[in-house]
Symmetry: C2
Subunit: 312 residues, 2 copies
């Protein structure tokens, strides 16, 4: 498979009810790559500064991720982000954001990165996402992330990129904000009308929903006893989804395939949040992912009796 | 089947982005009974005042609900509640609450109501819930609802009732508040340790989760294009769950049965919120409920490939 992801590589300082960690390797492209590399090689495209070390590059390469497109800016600083989570981990306060080299990022993809089968446009300025699409040689499948900041400030540019991708992968609140529609079903239908063939709505601890012309698919999050650090949950989910899609080169990318992809994304994200930062992703094995996909399958089954059996 | 529900019968004034309705027939026991009566007869136990009319009683009796245990207090007033929902229907402001005869309610069950197979203790003072349990003749299955007010003000009494029921059916936020545990899995396990054999966590637009010693079951809400009035969603869900359970007299009430019951509750609740108040419940047919249960089944299916098939 060949999978390219464009997004942030960062240092994160995170405080949760379970402790605090300083300057962990993070960023959307990092979480995405560590998840997607379960299925094959990935090329993250993103900038780092002179403070970024070889040991961090080695971590990125854990499962064969190709780091040729990590762009070094020796006289700049790597994106830094600090946040604190509330007691139930559902609220988060950003304490510090220093964009550093990420603020000046202009993605220039290598020929190998342009030649990808699957492209994931992480949460960057929509015109930069468009520029990446322009550079790529007609990938088989493309997906996009964004955030409320771009929806508010550059909605027209964002819609222009959305019109060009196969899948929009956003939080459900962002999908509502983008469309102004309170109903997720109606909002997703509006996005499908813009061009994409699928919308995946992330719902945090509640799971995720796929909407396509073939209908709905709804998947809960994996039930966990303890969440230690939710950072990167959405990005590792996206990495699992796209990694699975990229690995299925012989199959049609349809509703059924994306549903299974979401189960893999959900399983990987569930491991991710059980430890700080990328700690768990780094040593995660495919057999344990597969076991959780099986468990997800089990906890979503119910018998649907015929009318005759159920009427009292 | 024989099913008894104890709870409020009310007049509701509700404003949503889709309009406003005054003094509709409402209350937890009303929504519950109109849902549960899809599966057989139900006996609601609750007080009404002199302002309560015969036409409202007729509505309650729509599908054979027995109203012998509706307690008339001629010189009192029926519970009145007024609320306004926000644009996305996820927030609600209570504008007025006049408890009326519900404030003095002391449930006295008829012999027939005491002799129920299934008992649902709606959201009333926990010591009153205990008194109802004392009156009943060992029902086959009992479930309980409550609210944050009782969790805050009468937690000890609430725990005492919880110890005596088979199922706790609460919003996920209430389950967290009751146990002080942010993880739903851990919180539900703590409630199971108190005595019940199942916990059903309602998650509003996200669906519901069942936790029992047999594990988890997670079900999304039915995806709707338009929600007109969320009032009674939780109560009609509970009515569907308990109605289905009561109708399955020959079967063991286990994890699998409760999972199917939740699908029926979810389907009925989804119809309920598509119109104001009880309008849709009153004219709801079983075939259309069954069709939505089938659709819920369809939108939660995914293929779980073996490891061999998925590794790239």
């Amino acid at each position: 498979m060949s999978l390219t992801v464009v997004g942030s590589i960062a240092y994160d300082t995170v405080k949760t009810p379970f402790g605090e960690r300083e300057r962990m390797l993070g960023g959307a492209a990092t979480y995405f790559a560590l998840a997607a590399s379960q299925f094959g090689t990935v090329r993250p495209v993103g900038p780092v500064g002179g403070d970024f070390g070889d040991s961090e590059l080695e971590v990125l390469r854990t499962r064969g991720t190709l780091t040729d497109d990590v762009q070094f800016v020796p006289d700049g600083k790597t994106f830094f982000w600090a946040a604190e989570y509330g007691w139930d981990l559902n609220t988060r306060e950003t304490l510090d954001t220093q964009l550093g080299v990420f603020g000046e990022f202009e993605p220039q993809l290598s020929e190998a990165a342009r030649d990808c089968d699957v492209l994931f446009l992480g949460n960057i300025q929509p015109t930069l996402q468009s520029s990446v699409l322009d550079q790529c040689h007609n990938p088989r499948w493309t997906a996009l992330d964004s955030m409320n900041y771009w929806i508010d400030s550059t909605r027209d540019e964002l819609v222009k990129v959305i019109e060009r991708v196969d899948c929009v992968l956003l939080n459900d609140a962002e999908i509502r904000e983008l469309t102004g529609k309170p109903s997720l079903a109606a909002a997703a239908r509006e996005i499908l009308a813009m061009g994409p063939s699928s919308v995946i709505a992330k719902q945090g601890e509640y799971g995720a929903v796929l909407v396509s012309p073939e209908g709905f698919f709804s998947l809960p999050a994996f039930p966990l006893e303890t969440v230690v650090d939710p950072t990167g949950a959405g990005d590792s989910f996206a990495g699992g989804v796209c990694g699975y899609v990229a690995s299925q080169r012989e199959r049609q990318i349809d509703h059924a395939l994306l549903s299974t992809a979401m189960a893999y994304g959900t399983a990987i994200a569930s491991f991710n949040v059980e430890e700080f930062g990328i700690d768990r992703l780094v040593r995660l094995g495919f057999a344990e992912i597969n076991a959780r996909v099986g468990e997800l399958h089990r906890i979503t089954q119910f018998t649907h009796p015929s009318v005759e059996e159920t009427v009292a």
